[in-house]
């Protein structure tokens, strides 16, 4: 049976394949970029799948397990963005970011036992968390792009409006998935806890994050706007998202009264 010890082999293979994909993108070898990244994704997903089988539950319970999905979704989001807009740098960014999360998992695995408390045994569990992880990955890529645009603003001058619109589309994808995640959570909460929204600290921060991205989306509709402010809004929203994702685990006001803490 596969276990956490085997992760490092799968991780090395996947990262190498993603790195080859990233290199191919710089060299404009599109076919190699696609193939290599896709095989890397398959290898990585293979590990997730085998963990799923050997744990006899979806590996989505602990922070370490959600990081596993995050490292998977980053290159996936990267390759989707690459296929649509052909940024040469995107695969490098997504690979490096995925590598960071893989390293965190290697040093601090947080993969635990087979136990899955009854509250988490629901058909909503997997879609709720997976959809959220995908949204987080897309927003991660959007944030990188925002930083990239802030730095390179001057040299990109004429291309900037188009790039900003492409960034909007990325945010729309992230926002759509975040909405799915939040509402799946509400529908699930009704079945599990008797109410669809209880202002649990995790829910409160989910609402904050959702509204923050809505500020960006609405701001971008203005005919006259400051493009740097819009990009900063994205970065700020992503910081708020971190609070929702893992920050509340360290927030004094959320201790002991969140039903969303399962990794204890």
């Amino acid at each position: 049976m596969i276990n956490w010890e085997h992760f490092i082999y799968f991780a090395i293979a996947a990262v190498l394949l993603w790195a080859v994909g990233a290199w191919a993108a710089w060299r404009s070898k599109t076919a190699v970029a696609y193939t290599s990244t896709a095989i890397g994704l398959a290898v990585f997903f293979g590990f997730i799948l085998m963990m799923w089988i050997s744990l006899e539950r979806p590996p989505l319970r602990t922070m370490g397990e959600t990081r596993l999905w995050y490292s998977f979704f980053l290159p996936l989001a990267g390759i989707i963005v690459y296929s649509r807009w052909k940024y040469k740098w995107i695969l490098t960014f997504s690979t490096v970011l995925a590598l960071v999360f893989i390293c965190v998992n290697l040093f601090k695995p947080e993969i635990h036992s087979k136990t899955l408390m009854p509250a988490l045994q629901s058909p909503w569990f997997a879609p709720h968390v997976i959809v959220y992880m995908f949204a987080y990955a897309v927003f991660g890529v959007a944030t990188l792009m925002a930083i990239f645009l802030l730095i390179k603003e001057k040299s990109l001058n004429s291309k900037l409006p188009t790039l900003n619109l492409q960034l909007d589309n990325l945010v729309y994808v992230g926002l759509a998935f975040m909405t799915f995640g939040m509402l799946f959570g509400a529908l699930w909460a009704k079945e599990a806890w008797g109410h669809y929204w209880s202002w649990d600290p995790k829910e409160t921060w989910a609402a904050i994050t959702w509204f923050a991205y809505l500020v960006y989306v609405h701001y971008r509709q203005l005919p006259k706007q400051k493009s740097r402010l819009a990009l900063w809004l994205l970065i700020l929203s992503f910081i708020l998202l971190q609070m929702c994702w893992w920050g509340i685990n360290y927030l004094p006001s959320a201790q002991g009264n969140s039903v969303h803490t399962y990794n204890m």
Partner: protein
């Protein structure tokens, strides 16, 4: 945009004054039929403001980005404050040391900000409905924006107003003893329209002793004389005549040998409206995903007043 921020600031100030003069918002006072009347009145106000918007600048302003963006910012800031402070249930005189910020849901500035957001949503929806009507309600002309705004409006308003009609009670059942009393959240006993008898408590554990499954086999008798036999699992409530019955707890000291099961009985008459809103938002998100953002800006949507 300055105007929008001023209005938001004004609402916070007005909220603070209300909090000082009349105390926190008393949501319990909104029980049926008050919430129905308030909802109808709110819809009427929105419609009247919409009709008069060509004449009154302030009404016209409400449905613009210049009013929506500052309101969203205020909502984010106030909700961040809520997320950073420990929230406690209903304020009571016994609850000393708790400040306004520990009861955000009854804090006027918070409530007014969200009410204003609902007002903006309402005006925007009417504006977009009018546009859609001009396209003869063609499915192709239906915007993801209309679905999302309408869904959020419906979910937000009906969830808030319907909250006073929601009943959540705990019923402690013991094997072989039919029970028809339950405890309200403030621990008063209430007669229920259902009688429940626990037939068997089921408990399965993992190797390390942590619970894998706990469930109750119950026999339910309704007021109308209907008899239902069901198993209530965590995550699998049973629905009977407007009530949902949840597995809530058990005698943890007895563990698998527990002869007691605590059930939660929930009735929420406004749920279908809230769910309609949620499904509309889901539909809006799917639509947004499929369509994305057009590369050409549509100037008709972005005009300032």
């Amino acid at each position: 945009m300055k105007e929008g921020f001023l209005i938001g600031g004004g609402l916070v100030l007005a909220g603070l004054m209300l909090e000082l003069s009349v105390g926190p918002v008393v949501w319990e006072a909104f029980a049926w039929p008050v919430n129905g009347i308030v909802f109808a009145a709110f819809l009427t106000v929105i419609t009247v403001m919409f009709v008069l918007r060509k004449k009154v600048y302030a009404f016209r302003f409400i449905a613009t980005y210049h009013s929506a963006i500052p309101t969203l910012v205020y909502a984010v800031v106030l909700t961040i404050i809520m997320g950073l402070t420990r929230q406690t249930a209903n304020p009571s005189p016994a609850d000393e040391g708790g400040t306004w910020l520990n009861h955000m849901l009854t804090f006027w500035p918070f409530v007014l900000t969200y009410v204003y957001m609902a007002l903006i949503l309402g005006m925007v929806i009417l504006k977009q409905l009018q546009k859609w009507a001009a396209a003869r309600f063609s499915l192709f002309a239906l915007s993801s924006s209309l679905l999302s705004h309408l869904g959020l409006f419906l979910a937000m308003t009906t969830a808030t107003l319907g909250n006073a009609d929601m009943q959540r009670l705990r019923m402690i059942t013991e094997v072989g003893l039919p029970e028809n009393r339950a405890l309200t959240p403030d621990n008063t006993i209430r007669q229920m329209p259902l009688t429940i008898e626990l037939k068997r408590f089921i408990m399965e554990t993992y190797d390390d002793g942590s619970p894998k499954r706990f469930a109750s086999e119950i026999q339910i008798q309704t007021k109308s004389g209907k008899e239902v036999r069901a198993t209530v699992d965590v995550n699998k409530p049973v629905k009977v005549e407007g009530w949902k019955i949840y597995q809530y707890g058990y005698d943890t000291q007895m563990g698998a040998l527990s002869q007691t099961s605590i059930l939660e009985l929930v009735s929420d008459p406004w749920l279908p409206l809230v769910y309609t809103g949620i499904y509309m938002m889901l539909g809006g998100a799917v639509w947004m995903l499929l369509k994305g953002k057009k590369v050409n800006h549509q100037p008709s949507n972005c005009k300032s007043p």
